[in-house]
């Protein structure tokens, strides 16, 4: 009898051990390609981060750490010399060295379908100094250099040279903790642990990523124990997940801001109708009135079901350049009305609010809530919610006057949003590509341009914060709404820690 019990106990132990070796992850969207340079898109980046290493890696709080580079010096402001990690092997056994780094940067920069050109545009050249040393030259002093490098997964030159784009898109050979074993598109991605991983072999022998795009399906999969982690738990199911005593529940503030842009430099457009025929948004008092008049607390409570953080500036607190002292003003419809009257619009005006309806969490409902808030201070808002393909076409052509849009500061540095949104539009210098309201302030522009070359972090932080203050407080160039949060559920059998960059990095899951 005793023997049987011992036998059973051992069997049970073996069983749990067997289960623990495979990690199953249910994701709200799958990978678009296995080519790490094809799409700079969160879901694809998240999956591929398990297959590829970059020279520099982000930890869960998006702080930079040595990755495939062990150390680096910055002898001149535009020169970086990096010492590479020795003894690292790719999934196929090939050695990692400086040639792979030169090859990878050449491809990410010059491949005509690369989605990451923006990350490496400031890098002029990459040279091999010796087997394990590379030298980078940048166009200008480049303080965000290390952060940008986290996006460049290193490829194996020996394997990839001469291969077609199609082949590379199906055969990811990296140095990462896991290697691809099969990819059935739309059903699963299976990976095995890379036995010779330089940080040591991962805890799970096998990982299965499954795209479960339907919200209810994803929840059913974790409730029925078929997957160990899901991301993007839908807010309507939060209580079901929380009540389940086999599951842990996580809320992680993310990097994406949802905000409004207003046309501030054109008159007589068809989207804005005021009694004097002028564009009211040109008046800062009107822009402020909108900020005071939108009941963001109600949007967060009723539309986002409390899963969002109110925003007062362009980047959340995890991002370098965030200014703690900029606080959101309290909702004050009376003050909003007074500001409107002062500006000469006591009876408000009419405007069309464009928004996507399949891009951000609850995007079109947020736009509706903004419209009903503004109706109470006399501004008649007509919401025009369209699919993202139509919406972004209109954004590109400035075919709108007032719109809801998002921005993720995925570098962990405020420069991306300040360059792309806060700076006035300047196509030659590559600034303000997403500043489609025509906002511009010479002082902010100068600060943004100067900060791009400041190598002293303290000085640079001050410049970024100053620019934020001018754009968001002094000029009210945009109306911030909220930062999205990521919601996860995981089985209690595993230890999962969510990351600020929304990636699921299996190596850290225990």
């Amino acid at each position: 009898m005793k023997k049987i019990i011992v036998g059973l106990a051992t069997a049970a132990l073996l069983c749990t051990a067997g289960n623990a070796e495979t990690l199953k992850v249910g994701l709200a969207s799958g990978a678009l390609s296995m080519d790490p340079y094809a799409h700079n898109e969160t879901a694809t980046n998240s999956i591929l981060s398990n297959l590829f290493d970059a020279l520099i890696s982000f930890d869960k709080d998006i702080k930079t750490h040595p990755g495939l580079a062990v150390s680096w010096t910055n002898p001149e402001p535009t020169v970086w010399v990096m010492k590479l990690r020795e003894g690292v092997t790719f999934h196929n056994g090939n050695k990692f060295n400086a040639d792979d780094v030169v090859f990878s940067f050449d491809r990410i920069k010059n491949w005509d379908k690369s989605g990451f050109k923006g990350k490496v545009s400031a890098i002029v050249s990459v040279e091999k100094v010796d087997e394990y040393t590379v030298k980078f030259v940048t166009t200008k002093p480049f303080p965000v250099f290390l952060r940008k490098l986290t996006y460049v997964g290193i490829l194996d030159k020996e394997t990839l040279e001469g291969k077609t784009d199609q082949w590379i898109g199906l055969n990811p050979i990296g140095t990462g903790p896991y290697k691809l074993t099969s990819w059935s598109k739309g059903d699963h991605i299976k990976m095995d642990a890379h036995p010779n991983y330089w940080r040591g072999k991962g805890k799970f022998d096998k990982v299965i990523f499954r795209p479960l795009t339907n919200n209810a399906t994803r929840v059913a999969a974790i409730l029925s124990n078929e997957v160990d982690i899901i991301n993007r738990v839908p807010v309507v199911d939060v209580n079901r997940v929380k009540k389940n005593d086999k599951l842990n529940f996580f809320v992680q503030p993310g990097l994406r801001l949802i905000y409004l842009q207003m046309d501030q430099d054109r008159d007589g457009t068809k989207w804005i109708k005021s009694h004097d025929g002028k564009n009211p948004f040109k008046d800062i008092r009107v822009r402020r009135a909108l900020y005071y008049g939108i009941n963001e607390d109600a949007i967060i409570k009723y539309v986002m079901k409390s899963f969002a953080k109110p925003a007062a500036q362009l980047s959340p607190s995890a991002v370098f350049g965030h200014d703690e002292s900029i606080k959101r003003v309290a909702f004050d419809p009376e003050k909003a009305k007074a500001l409107l009257a002062e500006a000469g619009y006591p009876d408000g005006f009419e405007v069309q609010l464009d928004a996507p309806n399949n891009r951000y969490i609850n995007d079109s409902q947020i736009a509706q809530a903004v419209a009903s808030s503004l109706a109470k201070i006399g501004i008649k808002v007509k919401v025009n919610a369209t699919p993202k393909s139509t919406f972004f076409k209109a954004v590109r052509q400035r075919d709108l006057g007032f719109f809801l849009i998002g921005w993720a500061s995925s570098d962990g540095d405020a420069s991306s949003v300040l360059d792309g949104v806060g700076h006035s539009t300047d196509n030659d210098k590559g600034y303000g590509r997403y500043n489609k309201g025509g906002f511009g302030n010479a002082k902010a522009d100068a600060l943004i341009e100067k900060s791009a070359g400041m190598m002293d972090p303290a000085e640079r932080l001050k410049a970024l914060q100053e620019a934020q203050r001018i754009i968001m407080v002094e000029e009210q160039g945009f109306i911030p709404l909220h930062y999205q949060v990521d919601i996860y559920a995981s089985s209690k059998n595993i230890t999962f820690v969510p990351r600020t960059d929304s990636r699921i990095w299996v190596y850290d899951i225990k």
């Binding site: 379908k113 050109k117 923006g118 078929e226 590559g430």
Partner: protein, 316 residues
């Protein structure tokens, strides 16, 4: 017969040519995929480069001309998003959709027609009433509801069936492995419910109509056994409208399993096409719709040929 087939072939080519033009035009007008593909920090130059790389910088006429030239070489172009040949991607997903559609159709026919006959012979019996009650429910309940309820009962509460995914695949289908069959049960059941109910009701109505006709009474008066009357004389005449409907429904199943595929995270082509439309991935949308229209054309052809067997008066 050969002349008929050639004629049909010519018409089909014309249909598919027209479809390709319309889809190409709509996708051209719908927007710019490059804007959706590139991240926010891409420069204007990156956008232009990508457009050139994908051939989107050219005029509509030139793009469509290039497409036709490539099609004549059997190349439907590479997906903008996935970077792989569009035809490969669609064909990779097609078997998953086809197995759901074929299994659901076979089950619906095998169960629906006999039950329809039973309920038509004695329309007022207790059994008939029960059958009719469930068929009414089957035809009225939305597919996503059936799917969700099945998942709730069999996966979440009892944990006996997997809630999603396709399971182990052998020879393009999951119907040959135990794991695959377990994954197939709920999606196939979900799709079958509606089709089954529809076929059952059509069979019943058709049978009841035919059973009242004079030649049936004559056969009965001449002493032909009841069984022969029902399963031979009456059923044969009921089958003609039924075949038409089954043909149309099968096409529908292949083209519109999207809801079922989404609920069960089934990697079929329905989900692929919705994603591709949202991403403006024109090569995939065009390839998919050409294949689907080819399937519809083929089904119609088979239905026409089947008519001639069931009803000798019909000549192709």
């Amino acid at each position: 017969m050969i002349k008929y087939i050639l004629n049909r072939l010519f018409h089909s080519t014309l249909v598919m040519f027209t479809i390709s033009f319309i889809v190409f035009f709509i996708m051209f007008k719908a927007g710019d995929p490059v804007e959706l593909m590139l991240p926010a920090d891409a420069t204007q130059q990156d956008v232009i480069d990508m457009r050139v790389a994908l051939g989107l910088d050219k005029s509509f006429i030139v793009q469509y001309k290039n497409f036709l030239i490539n099609v004549s070489h059997g190349d439907l172009g590479n997906s903008f998003i996935y970077g792989q040949p569009a035809l490969d991607i669609v064909f990779e997903r097609m078997p998953a959709t086809m197995e759901l559609a074929v299994l659901a159709m076979i089950l619906s026919i095998l169960i629906g027609i006999p039950l329809g006959i039973i309920s038509s012979i004695k329309p007022n019996s207790f059994l008939s009433r029960i059958i009719m009650f469930f068929s009414l429910a089957g035809i009225s309940v939305p597919v996503f509801w059936t799917g969700m309820i099945l998942v709730l009962i069999f996966s979440v509460i009892y944990g006996v069936l997997p809630s999603s995914g396709r399971g182990e695949v052998y020879l393009f289908t999951s119907a040959f492995t135990w794991d695959g069959i377990r994954h197939l049960i709920m999606p196939v059941a979900t799709l079958t419910v509606f089709q089954l109910a529809l076929i059952l009701r059509l069979t019943r109505t058709g049978m009841m109509e035919v059973l009242m006709q004079d030649y049936i009474k004559l056969a009965a008066a001449k002493g032909v056994p009841r069984r022969v009357i029902v399963y031979y004389h009456a059923l044969k005449n009921t089958l003609i409208p039924l075949i038409t409907i089954i043909g149309i429904q099968f096409g529908q199943l292949v083209a519109f399993t999207i809801v079922t595929e989404t609920i069960f995270a089934w990697p079929g082509s329905g989900k692929l096409i919705i994603d591709s439309i949202q991403n403006l991935d024109r090569p995939i949308v065009v390839a998919y719709l050409l294949i689907i229209s080819f399937i519809f054309v083929a089904i119609n052809f088979v239905v026409d040929v089947l008519y001639t067997f069931v009803d000798p008066r019909v000549r192709v």
